[in-house]
Amino acid sequence: MDKTMKNFYWFTAAAVVLTVLAVLFFPGVEDFVERTFQRYLGQAAR
């Protein structure tokens, strides 16, 4: 595994953890995620 990919995996892992924490603890993030998801889901279900 080259160093660039290794760094990318660490970046991804950190981003996923930060995303989960943001959804759990930052006001407004949950609402934003849900609104965005609802929009795409609505389009896909048509």
Partner: protein
């Protein structure tokens, strides 16, 4: 080949970020007393339980959404409602598509076991969901729906199975 494999890995890894966000919102909602927008919430706990005579449901005309929980499974969702002829109704669109049926699972669950609790203005009502598949009454119900919401629900759509309509009857 190696390059394509790397691209696939990168796309997969990046897609984990929105997937984690959506999964977290969905999981968090399960522990709430009531639903949020898309994801099912936990059972409706708070609020007085209505007892006594059947209410005059015309008051729901000024209410945009209600909270509805099935007893099995005990999950709640936010849903549109309309009154017609002294009875109150809920419905689900998108039932004619695969994505819609995967998204909207409560209608088939309600068809199996219609026992439900709804919460309106902080008051909980015990109801029994009864699906209406056809009949003249659908003309009036769909007219009430389209008058209240930006919806194009028609009797034909209901009878063809694209929209599932339920009467929220009193529980016997």
């Amino acid at each position: 080949m190696k390059f394509i494999k790397k691209i696939i890995i990168i796309v997969f890894c990046l897609s984990l970020i929105p997937i984690a966000a959506v999964a977290t919102v969905g999981a968090k909602a399960r522990f709430d007393d009531g639903p949020n927008r898309v994801f099912s919430g936990g059972p409706l706990i708070a609020g007085d339980l209505h007892t006594g005579p059947e209410p005059d449901w015309s008051f729901v005309e000024s209410i945009s959404t209600i909270e509805m929980q099935l007893l099995d499974p005990p999950l709640s969702r936010r849903i549109w409602t309309a009154e017609y002829g002294g009875k109150v109704y809920v419905w689900s669109g998108y039932m004619g598509t695969t994505v819609g049926r995967l998204w909207k699972r409560w209608p088939s669950q309600a068809e199996r076991d219609g026992r439900a609790i709804i919460r309106i203005n902080g008051v909980r009502y015990e109801r029994e969901l009864k699906r209406i598949k056809s009949g003249e009454v659908l003309e009036g119900i769909t007219a009430a729906i389209t008058a209240k919401y930006p919806s194009q629900t028609t009797r034909t759509a209901v009878e063809e199975g694209g929209v599932w309509v339920f009467e929220m009857a009193p529980r016997s």
